[in-house]
Symmetry: C2
């Protein structure tokens, strides 16, 4: 592992100085190589799928690790990253001090990223292309269930780097399934500047508790929408429907619906009827249970246990009636993971109070939580969604994979 | 410790919503209280000093923990923080997406800061005032050798907060000297958002290796100046003199002087003669040893062991002759802590190459390294100097104690 770290650190020096054209060349080369080697990739991926099926992985898991028919999409993602502006070298916050010193912040790569992820092999290519574009190096640790797919992808990434005169060690892959290596990776602070876990809550917790390198935690969303009194109920139903059902397996999908008591009698049955169309089932609090009709209740059960703190990642929705905005905020404060939470209201004061009091990476007024996403936010791409407050919060795009240095220019200046 | 964490978290909610006037009121109140209680503070501080002397602390250490005659300076520092602009609530990077969604980043406090420091009790007041100004709460862990001074200061901070209607728990102090509490603090990730160690390399390392909370490491400077061929040697001597002697005990003071071989024969004896005036002693490499005169050599010795990687914090300077800019950068890459490094050169290309290749928080062209400092950089104040690349690099002022949230406003928008 130490050797991997040293190689990465060495490559990082070269990558940090690579110019935009060279980095884009590597990205174009990668897209062509993936396109040319489609058959090989799909056949290796099929072996991973076969083994997964033999090992009894769920259909959802198999879907996550499959690249079948998805390679052209992957290639256009890479091309899109090539088209984005290069943040490295950007000068900003320039100022001239009274003593004549010129101070400038200059954007630089972070250095070496350690990325630990599960199943989806497209992450290998996503992270590699974002890293290359930002002059960063990456040490990747993917799940063992996609080891064959990842190996061939990483080989192609290395080839693309070589073809454009960049060191193939800029993107390395740990192909030894030994789990103790993850712990070793988390202690390579001499060589690795940032750990980005992409996976479930347990992985994030493990990284936070075992890493001597800064970790960006996030990607876990217990998300809320609060329907305030006075909200346009018909349109609110559609926002809730979108937030819950458009892609229920992702972190920005809705987990709990909070409803002001003044509109609950009308809204609860309305929302249930609409959501049932998509097969949603419910976890009701006492009040919403009482407001749901006999038929609606059958689509759910009373909430209990950890239901309010559960990220469902599925067609399940918690439903709770609250006294007022204050109780809604209190519930969110107690149960939100600080990812995406919103209010549906016509009232400017309520919206302002919600925005000020809810401490989440993305706070919504009259919109679906599903928008928390790098490309939706106009950032072009996304390496992760941070729910911590250090460095970057919310979607992390290219700029969030950079740091800066202070450049100070003088004329033989001395401090008085 | 958990209780301290809970109290801080609760107070953080209130502090984050406090308006600028209220926060400034607390700062003014603190300055008045310190002014009014000068006698009490000085007498408690004297007890710490007496005990330190009894325990055989060095003169430098005693000086670090003394507040005698320094309280009016402390008060004006607080008033200066009150005068600075309040970053909280600032809206930036606003954009309207094609679909009509309005997206704004809004600056928010980080939350709860854990600050672990040694000896200097003015840190207690510095950190408290920067935290209050930025709506953050702080849990302070000061050194046991200033426990009496810190206790009275924290009491006054609490009183100032109360007087302005803010919770006194916004700034808490761990007055139990038990060292295991530091480790506990480093694991309060449920309540504490950021750890800032202020002290020696060992403290930073301990925090990095034992914390499940993000840590800002820094404040350790093995700093270099490289005198390029063609540099104005007389003025270079003065820059080196300033960087080494103006305040040798701080992190941005010079540790190693690198000299291009083409100017070494002239510059080495010149620099030694000037620096000897201030009592500097030297660690010479083979070449500079040979270039130093018989008399100059007596002010130093040949470098050995870890000399090139040592932060001297004293009137000692490493001196090394290099082949060229490349070797200078190589030496810096191998030995710098990434704090402050500079080049003295008339040549634009050399300067550009140095700035691009030296990966330090502050990179200087023709200026003393002593400028790396929040107030020198026009930031008004400084809570720490970061040498890591995450979140903030270099001097950390008010803005660096903030995070942001994304505020997304729509008209019942759904994702397509």
């Amino acid at each position: 592992m130490k050797e991997i770290g040293q190689k990465a650190k060495k490559a990082a020096k070269i990558l940090s100085r690579a110019n935009t054209a060279q980095k884009n060349e590597a990205l174009h080369a990668l897209a062509s190589l993936i396109d040319a080697e489609q058959e090989l990739i799909e056949s290796e991926n099929q072996k991973d799928i076969d083994e997964g099926e033999k090992n009894g992985l769920s259909e959802a898991m198999i879907d996550r690790l499959s690249l079948q028919g998805r390679l052209s999409g992957l290639c256009s993602d890479i091309e899109r990253v090539a088209e984005l502006g290069d943040p490295i070298g950007e000068k900003y916050d320039q100022k001239k001090l009274e003593n004549g010193l010129k101070i400038t912040k200059q954007r630089v790569p972070i250095g070496v990223l350690g990325v630990i992820y599960e199943s989806r092999p497209n992450v290998t290519v996503d992270v590699a292309s974002l890293a290359i574009k930002t002059g960063n190096c990456a040490i990747l640790r993917g799940g063992s269930e996609t080891i064959r797919t990842n190996k061939v992808l990483v080989k192609l990434i290395g080839e693309a780097l070589s073809r454009s005169g960049l060191p193939p060690e800029a993107v390395q892959f740990i192909d030894n399934p030994d789990r103790s290596l993850v712990k070793e990776l988390l202690h390579l602070h001499e060589y690795v500047d940032l750990i980005i876990p992409r996976g479930g809550a347990k992985l994030h917790q493990f990284c936070r508790e075992n890493s001597s390198i800064p970790v960006i935690t996030g990607g876990i969303g217990v998300c809320h929408l609060y329907v305030d009194k006075g909200a346009d109920l018909e349109r609110s139903v559609e926002v809730v429907f979108n937030a819950k059902t458009q892609r229920p397996t992702v972190c920005n999908s809705l987990d709990t619906l909070l409803i002001h008591k003044a509109v609950a009698a009308e809204f609860v049955p309305m929302a249930i009827r609409r959501l049932k169309e998509a097969g949603v089932s419910f976890r009701f609090d006492e009040k919403s249970w009482n407001l749901a009709g006999e038929k609606e209740r059958k689509a759910g059960q009373k909430a209990g246990g950890d239901d309010w703190s559960t990220e469902w990642l599925d067609l399940i929705l918690g439903v709770k009636v609250v006294e007022d905005l204050g109780e809604a905020v209190e519930h969110i404060t107690a149960h939100s993971t600080g990812h995406s939470d919103g209010i549906l209201t016509p009232d400017k004061d309520s919206a302002d109070r919600f925005v000020s009091d809810v401490d989440s990476a993305a706070v919504y007024v009259n919109a679906s939580t599903r928008f928390t996403d790098g490309s939706q936010f106009g950032m072009g791409a996304e390496v992760a969604i941070s729910t911590q407050k250090l460095h970057a919060r919310g979607p992390m795009g290219l700029k969030e994979l950079t740091s800066y240095k202070w450049v100070v220019e003088g004329n033989y200046h001395v401090r008085k």
